[in-house]
Symmetry: C2
Subunit: 367 residues, 2 copies
């Protein structure tokens, strides 16, 4: 079955579309990427999403946004199909996260029936709500895909996605999906990008060049690493609600003296992301042999070097490898999750989300 | 197939649940009511919904509400099933309207996958979005049900629902569903209830007793009937956005002199509702033989008398009959709409909503 996944993250930088061919043999699936496009949001939409996330939107804005997204996704999807010449049989759409209140509620904006009416295709959407209703965090959902694609019979693997937040899926050799452990470590790029914007006015630190030029501000790093989220045991998930720009500004004001180089702030926040990832590897995946890195953060070469350097102090030797599908992976994962829903198969892993049981995720519009 | 419809209106007074047996012969269906319950909202939920509607809710409130509704509907539904001993095969849920921006967007809050996970049943929800995406008003949706249940081969019928707003579906003898005309006439109970609250401090005028005791204030009625909405031709739909409490207060202050009896205000607003209904009958259903009345307003005996009196001046003789299912009708209509979606049948009537085509409505969660 050919399914397209549409992914938009909390960074609101792009609409990622991955068309995948998913075939099933027994209870194993292969997922092949047929085409991938990533297009920026329309400026108007991006600004509206940010207004919503900052609680500055009114009810009409909040009513309009799911329809604006449906219309924009329909246009991007038509472009995507035209570019590849492939028309999928169904769409699986994450929707735009506006709020996440773990185990209580979650909000992925999209008018699914509207997108279905505009594309004439079944649309699977609202993937996180059923898990939340069953006491789960509603996140992460990618681990079942990680297990299907990356679990190995002999290698201890970890998949690490560095998006706005950083999350990892721990896949010991031969692990069954019911035993997979996965969680958000903490911030991925969100505070690195934020600090780069505040100090250099750039939207991100290309290749980690700014961070490489600076030094870690030790007292700043010490306060950052003492934030309570890091010490929690899984299952755990987090988002921009906890790692806010307000809190970042407060901390930068506290620790960055006018005399110290601006890049030190970026270096310190890059070190925080590296430290938090390696600390979680040490605590929950000390036998990991291979860490497969995806997400925008995989392109930050300085960050990857820091991961390697910090992990050298771990007991077992682990190598960091950039996923060949580092950009398309999340959209592919949602194509796979949508396929599971269309087959009537559960998509959450209770060992990961903390839900009381596994459940078929989402809702299907067939306008 | 046994389907339960769950309806909650913009008055936020009750959660109506109707379990229906729907059977199909060719392209005709019979819809039998098996059980009906109506329970008030939890006070906390009702207040939160009103805060949302008044734009006083924050993002966390708006994120939580669809889950609060799913949990409350699940409890009410369990009570409903326990009372009747019947467990339906699926749920069709209108969701709580928070905003309606005709032809642009619409917002019926409910975490459908959450309700499906909590009830272990398929849940059809978000009925209005696909029609809006296709340029429609997203309302009214009940006319396809009116056609299925009330259209007659020899009688010219009209169905009239007097809720907060009053709407009618015009069903000439033998009319095909594609030719049905339906629209909102204007206010139903909203201003009668509002005036009763402002003058007598009661939430509604039981049996129309207050209105019956007063006299119509002619200059007040003249200004009311000149409001531009009444003169518009269908398709048209309206809501509390146009007929606000603020406007009502302004008009009462202008026309109700301290010396005139308080009941005259209620009489005048009851006359407005009756006039507007009969005026629309005269303009668009002058051949109507039977008008079948549902909604809370059907219990206002004085209003029904005024409808009969005013319609006596019409060319053809029409009688007003109270629907035996006056309370359950809207919940039954959504059970039927959900059944249509589960069968892959379209649910909107483009002649009514103005959408560019008919479409399968909603989205189906099968957690």
């Amino acid at each position: 079955m050919i399914v397209a996944g549409i992914m938009t993250g909390t960074s609101v930088d792009a609409i990622d579309i991955a068309t995948c061919d998913i075939t099933s043999k027994g209870d194993r699936q292969t997922i092949s990427l047929l085409s991938f496009t990533s297009a920026p949001f329309e400026e108007e939409t991006r600004l509206l999403i940010h207004r919503c996330m900052r609680s500055e939107a009114d009810m009409q804005d909040l009513c309009d946004l799911p329809f604006l997204l449906a219309r924009e996704f329909a246009v991007r999807f038509a472009d995507h199909c035209a570019a590849s010449g492939i028309r999928p049989e169904a769409l699986a759409v994450h929707g735009q996260t506006l709020w996440h209140h773990p185990t209580v509620s979650t909000w992925q904006a999209l008018a699914g029936p509207a997108l279905s009416a505009l594309t004439d295709l079944p649309v699977v959407h609202d993937f996180r709500s059923a898990d939340v209703a069953l006491g789960g965090q509603g996140a992460p959902l990618v681990p079942i895909y990680d297990h299907a694609v990356y679990a190995d019979d002999t290698l201890n693997r970890v998949t690490l996605n560095i998006g706005g937040m950083a999350n990892m899926t721990i896949l010991p050799a031969g692990v069954p999906s019911s035993k997979v452990v996965a969680f958000d470590c903490g911030p991925g790029n969100v505070w690195i990008d934020g600090a780069t914007r505040l100090t250099y006015g750039k939207s991100f630190d290309t290749n980690g060049a700014i961070a490489r030029a600076g030094s870690v501000l030790r007292p700043f790093l010490a306060e950052l690493t003492s934030l309570p989220y890091f010490a929690l045991d899984p299952p755990k998930s987090t988002g921009r609600e906890l790692f806010t720009m307000q809190e970042l500004k407060r901390l930068i004001t506290k620790y960055s003296h006018p005399s110290s180089p601006l890049e030190d702030v970026v270096t310190t926040l890059t070190e925080l992301t590296a430290w938090s990832i390696v600390d979680h590897l040490r605590r929950y995946a000390s036998e990991a042999g291979e860490v497969i890195v995806s997400g925008g953060g995989s392109q930050n070469t300085y960050l990857i070097e820091r991961l390697s350097a910090l992990s050298a102090e771990m007991d077992s030797r682990c190598t960091f490898r950039i996923d060949t599908q580092w950009a398309a992976k999340e959209a592919m994962a949602f194509a796979y999750l949508g396929w599971r829903t269309l087959q009537g198969l559960p998509g959450n892993l209770p060992s990961v989300t903390g839900a009381e049981r596994d459940v078929v995720l989402g809702t299907i519009a067939r306008a």
